[in-house]
Amino acid sequence: MRRIVAILLLIIVALGISLSLAKIPFGTPKTKVGRHYINEGVKETGAANIVTSVVLSYRGFDTLGEVTVLFIAAIGLGAVLTGATEKKARKTEPASLVLYTGCRLLFPLILIFGSYIFIHGHLTPGGGFQGGAIIASGFLLIYLGCRERRISRKASKLTESLGGLLFVVTGLLGLAFGGYFLSNFLPKGTANELFSAGIIPIIYIAIGFKVGSELASIIDNLIEES
């Protein structure tokens, strides 16, 4: 009985959503601010990737909040797991030669690809969060394939703090030189070149290092404690 009622409720909700959304045309620009970003974004910020110009220039302060949320999540996970019981020495099977060699060869390529993604965040799709997540998946590969290798926790904490510090200091320099927090005070250059868009590449490099070390330290905490 309860199952039938649940299914009926789901059908009613689905009907309501599809009926109310059916009249809205898909993919047409409706807001003025969206049209402004598309038409003037490249000229105003110097970044060829419009998504990056919105994320880091028009809505840069929100990105600082997002980075802070991830930071608090990593800190909270570390705090919860530190109180766990002392770990027993677990016997682990060594990885096979093929897996071990493959992981060691793939790891630097993944690192280079992740850094490419966040250094070129203002030119091509991607950015600090995506590049950081790719770098963290490289560390996950190392943890699965080469079990005796570990990243040093002190180095990952240091990288994380320096990344966050670089972001906030760049924002404060914008406040000093440009008049508001995270204002683009460096020369914008010509679009589609590597050294363009002012402070946007600097902030994306900071975010890339910060997100990569944070996600890697989350995986490190979980694997060490399990």
Partner: protein
């Protein structure tokens, strides 16, 4: 276009499988498949930035964290 509908169908099947499976490792792999297909669909909808984040976080890191947690608890659901 047919390819996109095939992907959506596969995604629905994977989502249902993730909630039906009693073996939690299989359920996690089915959920990672949902994320992977979602990232391909984001690419077809011309949102490559979102597709990258979804593929790296949804398909790789989340599945790994779930599998680590399952190793600590029990593998089969009663």
């Amino acid at each position: 276009m047919i390819f996109v509908f095939f992907l959506i169908l596969l995604m629905l099947i994977a989502a249902m499988a993730a909630s039906i499976f009693r073996d939690l490792i299989s359920a996690v792999i089915a959920a990672a498949l949902v994320s992977l297909i979602a990232s391909i669909l984001f690419y077809f909808l011309q949102a490559p930035d979102v597709a990258m984040a979804e593929a790296a976080i949804g398909a790789a890191l989340t599945a790994a964290i779930f599998i680590i947690a399952i190793r600590r608890t029990s593998r089969y659901e009663e």
